[in-house]
């Protein structure tokens, strides 16, 4: 029986990208459907009635929501290719811990870097950089967060990489100066086809943010 897989997504979403990278890693064919978040489709509202958000994976008619839940689902169903979670329970707990940390901590201060000014932006910048310094510490000298191979934590974090130009420009800092280990790690991940083909260009994301700021009067 051929699997029918489709993904409801929004091209600049770092959460949606996690699913796209995972599908690419596993070599899964799927139909991509771009959502206009200001005019959500009936399908999206039906498939994610609780949150009405992307990404939503639809596998043989059944929907899975929440990016990291989707990634784990894909990892469990298509388990024979490129496993993302380690097999050891303790290592899995560590991977889940760091993915959860990334999931909870980065988005909001990151958003404030481009959406706010003055004191609020300053506080967000400090928080944002503190978080990345903690992540740098966790990465250490390993090639990937997962150790020798690209894994669950790497997928969770790398999708923020295409937003780095936005963060650096509005936050007025450089990752190279503040968190020197992060860029070499990101460049290593970008060498993987699944990542390179998924992540949009940093400048394209920046232009998207400029448009959003204009639209919401955040200039």
């Amino acid at each position: 029986m051929a699997d029918e897989v489709s993904l409801l997504d929004f091209w600049p979403s770092m959460f949606g990208m996690r699913v796209r990278v995972t599908l690419a890693e596993k070599g899964i064919k799927y139909e991509y459907k771009e959502e206009d978040l200001r005019h959500k489709s009936d399908l999206l509202l039906k498939m994610n009635p609780v949150h009405k958000k992307i990404p939503v994976l639809i596998h043989n008619g059944k929907s899975v929501c929440e990016s990291l839940v989707i990634v784990q689902y894909i990892d469990e169903v298509w388990k024979d290719k490129s496993p993302l979670l380690p097999s050891d329970p303790y290592q899995r707990a560590q991977a889940r811990f760091w993915a959860d940390f990334i999931d909870k901590k980065i988005y909001e201060p990151g958003r404030k870097l481009w959406a706010t000014k003055g004191e609020e932006q300053g506080a967000a910048k400090k928080e944002f950089l503190d978080i990345f310094k903690i992540l740098e510490g966790e990465l250490g000298d390993k090639p990937y967060f997962g150790g020798e191979t690209f894994g669950f934590v790497d997928v969770s974090l790398i999708t923020f990489y295409c937003w780095f130009y936005v963060y650096e420009t509005f936050g007025k800092f450089s990752f190279e100066a503040e968190c020197p280990k992060i860029l070499p790690w990101a460049k290593r991940c970008i060498q993987k086809e699944s990542v390179a083909k998924t992540l949009p260009d940093q400048k394209k994301v920046y232009e998207f943010v400029l448009e959003m700021k204009k639209m919401f009067g955040l200039d």
Partner: protein
């Protein structure tokens, strides 16, 4: 498996109880270490340097943190009394609801910490959360996990029981039986289940503790 298992916790913490329930349901022996949250032990800070919180489960010297991540670890290490289904889709649904509990449960925890406008907002958030879960509640006599308690019951159970505490504390009725009949019946079922009933902190004791904790905080914020 005779490796050392220790749980660093605090009797007032709903997050700690999630871990206790998982261990008790599976019949896994462990040593419990009560932490004074106003004076955290160097050991706790060593085991949870990122968040500095309880619970921290330490298995053969290796720490695992964040309540629901600990519960998944327990599930994968001790397979008896499974808390997650076998089917990947059913597992994804369970994880979806666990994430929902983690995100939306924040409104309930905020009720403990806040007052005035912030607390009003938290009450609204709590009601919205309850409304959503009510729609997806299990049938009478059943659990979210089906015939047996599962990971979603554990996630919501902590929220449900502690919500009762804050309602009593604030003298409000948010989780009313007539508004949330299925959820109400589920919580009663859950808190009366043998392994859970024996492992719940006293409601009166919790109310007394939280009352004095809030008074202390108010005083501290005024000085």
């Amino acid at each position: 498996m005779g490796e050392e298992l220790k749980l660093h916790g605090a009797w007032i913490s709903p997050f700690v109880y999630r871990v206790i329930w998982a261990l008790k349901l599976k019949g896994v022996p462990y040593e419990y270490i009560e932490e004074d949250l106003s004076n955290k032990s160097p050991l706790l800070l060593k085991y949870n340097p990122v968040h500095k919180k309880v619970p921290a489960l330490v298995h053969a010297g290796k720490p695992i943190c964040e309540s629901m991540i600990i519960v998944e670890y327990i599930e994968e290490t001790w397979p008896q009394y499974p808390l997650l289904p076998i089917d990947p889709y059913e597992r994804a649904m369970a994880r979806f609801w666990v994430k929902f509990a983690e995100e939306k449960g924040d409104a309930v925890w905020a009720l403990f910490r806040t007052s005035g406008e912030e607390q009003e907002k938290a009450m609204k958030g709590t009601l919205e959360m309850l409304k959503t879960i009510e729609e997806h509640s299990p049938d009478a006599k059943k659990f979210f996990g089906g015939d047996k308690i599962g990971i979603v019951d554990i996630a919501f159970g902590a929220i449900g029981y502690w919500l009762g505490v804050v309602e009593e504390l604030l003298g409000v009725a948010l989780f009313e039986a007539h508004a949330f009949p299925r959820l109400h019946a589920w919580l009663k079922n859950f808190t009366e289940a043998p392994k859970i009933k024996e492992n719940l902190p006293g409601r009166d004791e919790l109310v007394v503790f939280v009352r004095s904790w809030r008074a202390e905080r108010l005083l501290a914020s005024q000085n």
